[in-house]
Symmetry: C2
Subunit: 166 residues, 2 copies
């Protein structure tokens, strides 16, 4: 977690001296993956069923969740460093800006994943589509609206390409 761990091309900044807002962990995500290295590279490639366990305090907030086929799940990547603005992930040829990567390393390490809801049992949701470590802290669950959230035409290009060339 320090500057000496940078890969070639990576750039770190000095983090702000203070924080601006605070989060509650509202539950945990149970998955088959105990270490970050074990997690699937792409959640869509994994058929594994994971379990979202919501804390008792927030259980009533799950009312009507069965009406949702898909959920937008926000969770906290608690092992990620926060100071990299340019990163060189292993599977990329070149370094890229943090905001054009889905890497957990970012100023606020909040992950957003679309999960298919399989089953609800009390305050436990069985879902497909998550790829995080077992025990990952849960931040939020939202209903996924195709009308708001689905952009099947969206593209992410390589550096050097841009919107004008598409």
């Amino acid at each position: 977690m320090d500057r000496y761990d940078l890969r070639p091309g990576e750039v770190a900044v000095v983090l702000p001296e203070s924080f601006d807002a605070e989060l509650y962990f509202i539950g945990r995500i149970r998955t088959p993956w105990m270490r970050r290295e074990d997690c699937p590279k792409n959640a869509r490639e994994s058929p594994s069923v994971c379990t979202i366990e919501v804390d008792e305090r927030w259980a009533q907030a799950l009312n009507d969740i069965e009406t949702c086929s898909h959920l937008l799940v926000l969770y906290w990547m608690d092992q990620a460093r926060r100071d990299l603005v340019i990163q060189a992930p292993r599977h990329y040829e070149t370094a890229r800006g943090t905001f054009s990567l889905r890497s957990p390393v970012r100023p606020n390490p909040i992950a957003a994943s679309v999960a298919r809801l399989i089953k609800r049992q009390g305050r436990r949701l069985s879902v497909i589509g998550l790829d995080c470590r077992d025990g990952t802290p849960l931040l939020d669950i939202k209903p996924y609206y195709a009308s708001l959230d689905a952009e099947p035409q969206a593209v992410v290009g390589r550096p050097g390409s841009d919107a004008d060339q598409r």
Copy 2:
């Protein structure tokens, strides 16, 4: 922001005594809407161009963002109360659980919106698809991947329906 402001059917819980993680505001979102009441009900209904202004510290993290046609933008709904588990929004007939609503009122008031990237000028991004108040704190920008994030078949039903009936 207290229990006396509850609408019929709404339920509030006692918030935890302490927080679990902390956030940096990394920029601001400039929009035409000065008050929450002025914001469009559905961002997809608004053609307004908004501007994401990223703070100087994080500017390099925007490298290569031009390669993305769409972005997943996370921001902080700083005026929302956090203690409601059942809510009765004005445009709904019945109260629903917080996690089956997109209301800003939730334990962690993080909004997630898909925005179309129109133009980048330095650390300013012109986008379409946001519906927040002017000055809203920015938390994160992610590339939107159709392969990960688009679920055009997703549905959200009414209470009483459930996944088995679809």
